[in-house]
Symmetry: C2
Subunit: 396 residues, 2 copies
């Protein structure tokens, strides 16, 4: 379908009909429900779907995308076709217009009821930079890094919607010497991690791995994600069981979930993998996404990480996550880890951008916004949801 | 209340009226709902609560304990008083008896809709044993271990009820040399970890830590827990972000959740903590639970770990988990980590019991049962829920 949309201001914008991300919105005094974004409007899908007697109309009346996502790939594709038709066909205008709500009048919510949250470490440039900063005399990459997408579970209950203030976490930090008592107080090294998140729509059975080539059957769409990190808390706590309180205070995700079909034109070959990964990771079939990220701090762009430079692919992360038989659930979220490109101005964390300089970390009141764009299927670009957050001082 | 119960066979048993754990059961063709165990029976609470017009009667009609747990400490205490009255007062017998169901006729389910799952590492003996096995020439405990309860997030979606078969996980294991390609296949070092789990009833606000002295306001009760572990997968993957696929294939919990009031007589002083922990960990107020654990493999007791020998207390784990402002949700589960006592026959994992001997790990078809008892408030002992699981061969 190449016809233009009749929605005012949408044609040619970053939220044209080749985008159509899903989110959860509410109006004052009303319950949150599912909408789709077009230009600077949100289509309130529930009344239109009910009027047209869609058999899945109830999924749009829910306060999260989970029921829509659980309905599966075929429903996701047919709903997208239906919504596209509503927005390009002038004869649908009378039906749709009463449900076309100006974005500025709506409250947006966390779009997904997050089941499990897993964070990977899939950028070679990021892992190498971190290795060089923390272990300047050793090999920057650990022996397992090129054999598997290293990952860990994060806290699902503190995944918050873009715009939620982030309270500076308090915790233990290493003392002045290895035997000194640790210090305690607000983190002095509060950082960001610019990432991409993948949201699972269709779950899987316990004991049965999911193949890398079943990615689009299980993954519903993509979110922007900021994995806020307290580097001083993390550095003291993380041996031997990994990051915990240095990460678990907040992870912000975009209001909008971009369905995988909107990214059909964004797939590119990854830079390459040596040594060749094991067969379950689908060596040679490693496709990444050509998504450009912008990291803005207090209104200034401080970095432009390119997602196409990642080492491990989204499908490889999914295959690895389940190769031990771990089941997937609707609402599972897995993220890429910090996106860093090869150039100094392509790094996705302040740790790397400042290369250990203490003044590089976030101050109270700082505003962080992550923005994402990708090639659209019509030849232009589409925007993914942005991720904003302001640092608030420690309470009490 | 010291009167005896009228329920046949229950008085003097490990499930007397000083125990009364909650679970979720179903009968053929019926929906799962909440029950309380007395002797070898389950009280179907929903019809009795409805007949007596309890204002919280709806929480017993649910397929998980979460709504009951979310109702808070006061409701938990008053429901316990009410149930105790039903079971000791002969005049209630006619009301209750139609809802007193033989345990053998019921299917038991996962009792909790698990929100986030956190696993700690709170036994000094376990951490020391593991350190000695893996780092024979170094200090067995890492520098942070005596300053904070080390923990990490596990996979909530693969927490399963006792009795669920555990499929042997497949994954990558370290190759023959540091530069060799890793091997791939079913884990050859499948292990157990005998633990105690704590279930959160009442959540907390993002950005606001929970004090150690608010333990019983937030924690509803205790479960038995087996943190199945694939040591070979874990050893290769765990640097630098901690255990992932070596743990995420399955974590088994008991069908029964023992409310904290049933453990009022089980609190004991912990062995002691040096150096003194930071103030947020409540130094000097560190109370543990005198719970005896039995580890049975194929019907034989292989170990008797004593929970009273743990280093970090349940309240300290809760305070640490939230000190960074991480919020709690109803259904959060946090576990102690492997319970190991000072003696060789008190170790809670096969890794420690076999001290690295490969033949000590689990074979396909092996049955593991963890059993737990504690002092009851009437002077005898109560049983916590047991945790059973049989190892099934890798699929495919």
């Amino acid at each position: 379908m190449s016809a233009s949309t009749w929605v005012p201001g949408a044609a040619g914008s970053l939220f044209d009909v080749d985008n159509l991300p899903y989110g959860v919105f509410s109006r004052p005094g009303e319950e949150p429900r599912v909408g789709v974004r077009i230009g600077d409007h949100v289509v309130d899908l529930a009344p239109i779907a009910a009027a047209e007697m869609l058999d899945v109309h109830h999924v749009f009346e829910e306060p999260s995308l989970n029921p829509l996502m659980a309905a599966g790939r075929q429903v996701r594709e047919s709903v997208r076709t239906w919504v596209t038709g509503l927005l390009v066909d002038e004869t649908e205008r009378d039906l749709v217009e009463p449900s076309l709500l100006p974005l500025a009048e709506l409250t947006l919510h966390l779009p997904v009821d997050v089941a499990d949250y897993v964070d990977f470490y899939a950028s070679e440039h990021h892992a190498t930079n971190v290795g060089r900063i923390f272990r300047p005399d050793g090999e920057p990459l650990l022996p397992n890094w090129r054999h598997l997408p290293v990952g860990y579970h994060g806290r699902a209950g503190t995944v918050v919607a873009s715009g939620t203030p982030v309270v500076r976490p308090t915790g233990q930090r290493r003392g002045g010497s290895p035997t000194a008592t640790p210090t305690f107080g607000p983190s002095a090294r509060l950082d960001i991690e610019a990432e991409l998140g993948f949201v699972v729509g269709v779950g899987s059975e316990l004991g049965s791995p999911v193949s890398y080539d079943a990615f689009a059957d299980h993954v519903f769409g993509v979110v922007g994600l900021n994995d806020w990190s307290a580097r001083d808390i993390q550095a003291w706590e993380y041996v031997p069981l990994g990051p915990f309180l240095g990460k678990s205070f907040a992870t912000s995700v975009s209001h909008w979930v971009t369905p995988v079909e909107a990214l059909d034109a964004a797939w590119v070959d990854l830079p390459g993998q040596l040594p060749e990964p094991l067969p379950y990771l689908g060596p040679g079939a490693t496709r990444g996404l050509d998504i450009d990220v912008e990291v803005m701090v207090n209104g200034e762009v401080v970095s432009r990480p390119p997602y196409r430079t990642m080492y491990w692919s989204p499908a490889q992360m999914l295959a690895h996550l389940t190769v031990n038989g771990a089941s997937l659930r609707t609402g599972d979220l897995f993220a890429s880890g910090t996106i860093s490109g090869p150039e100094p101005d392509q790094r996705g964390s302040l740790l790397e951008l400042g290369w250990g300089d203490e003044s590089a970390f976030l101050a109270d009141g700082d505003d962080v916004v992550l923005r994402y764009t990708a090639p659209g299927v019509r030849g232009g670009r589409i925007a993914l949801g942005e991720v904003a957050g302001r640092v608030e001082p420690t309470r009490g």
